[in-house]
Symmetry: none
Subunit: 241 residues, 2 copies
């Protein structure tokens, strides 16, 4: 997940806490490279660490620059994140589109985020070739810095093909013979109760029962559980010793 | 973007601030319906409003329930969000997959989130047919509540542009309350047979039974069929006249 991973640039961030939260958001999705442009309260900032919740490696390797131009000097693809239209003739992409591009384009990419309160200045945006906008609710757009970062990092990670952790090996449906065993068992319990009576309804009732028991696609263990249930229902109560 | 919008359920949330942040996350992506299960500090909570940053409508219409079962009683598709493996044979989906399903499946959907510190209990997860896991960095998974909510809401909002045409006439899963009726009926039949004995195994047996009966996603008609089956099993044989 390295190589093409974008650099996250925070321009004039105000609160150390938000820098920490952004680091945490990044590392959740495998991004580790942070750059800070003129952080308001200097750097390092003692409020950042606690908010990073363990993402210390991101903070420890963060680099500080005086200007955005310096911070993105080695990057081939600069995306300026903003919600406002600026009357600029730049392409506007979503986090998903940006993520796809970053994985396919050659050269380093960087996502640039503005200060918490005001966002990027027009002159900052001017440095970017592309504008990245998160498509929020038009009646309520209120993403904070770390949220904007996490959505972009998440999309990058998705595009990286980051799969769910291994091991959630859902069992396949049991062989049909086991299902037949269950259905037969169930029918054997119901027949003496005259469930399949009158004769004219018997076939339809059997089919309904079969359909209900077939659709789940129960696996071997589940079928075994249900066979156990049926055994209990047909027997005398289990002896307590 | 209404209609199929999922309900966000927060189970035993600890801090009002986090409830507010979750509301803000929701409204950014057009979700408005929040339900709270036994919030630790009661409800309303004065810390929620400021953290919602203007998403007041979500908080004002939030409903409070005593149990998760009550909160999801009218929902056809219950997704339990969790990062941990639980040895359960439930399908695990990503936020993106869940979002697509929620847009195409008939019936209400709900996304269930656990308490900030501990996440959902095993018995909470047992109520759900599907597990939702955000595929985070395997070496650093540290999503907070509002972050998990915003990623799910974001994916739902994205998928809102992709709704598939209507016309699939499959009945939706029955409301959760009907499923609870079936499980309760089954347990009532098994208890006198000492199925839930010895005591040390009772809870695990109940959970296994619940999981097996929850996974199929039976619809109203199927549940009715199975209730009929159970009624036959508990009664004397039907009289033939």
């Amino acid at each position: 997940m390295t190589g093409k991973a974008p650099i996250i640039v925070l321009v004039r961030p105000q609160l150390g806490e938000n820098i920490g939260k952004a680091a945490r958001a990044m590392l959740n999705f495998g991004l580790t490279e942070m750059r800070l442009v003129s952080p308001r309260d200097g750097w390092p900032n003692p409020s950042a660490g606690p908010a990073a919740a363990g993402a210390d490696e991101v903070l420890e390797t963060a680099q500080v620059f005086e200007t955005l131009a310096d911070a993105v000097a080695d990057c081939a693809h600069v995306y300026a994140t903003t919600v406002r239209k600026r009357g600029m003739t730049k392409p506007v992409v979503t986090p998903e589109q940006a993520a796809r591009e970053m994985h396919t384009l050659p050269g380093r990419s960087t996502l640039v985020f503005g200060p918490e309160r005001s966002g990027l200045e027009t002159e900052d945006v001017a440095l970017a070739r592309t504008i990245l906008t998160v498509p929020v609710n038009p009646d309520f757009g209120s993403l904070n810095l770390a949220q904007a970062v996490i959505l972009c990092a998440y999309e990058w990670s998705k595009a990286a093909g980051l799969a769910l952790p291994e091991g959630d090996e859902t069992l396949p449906p049991a062989p049909q013979a086991e299902l037949e065993g269950l259905i037969g068992h169930c029918e054997a319990l119901l027949a003496p109760k005259n469930y399949f009576w009158p004769e004219s309804r018997a076939e339809a009732n059997r089919r309904t029962l079969r359909n209900v028991l077939t659709r789940p696609g129960w696996n071997h263990l589940e079928i075994r559980t249900l066979r156990g249930v049926l055994s209990f229902l047909e027997k005398e109560p289990r002896k307590r010793d």
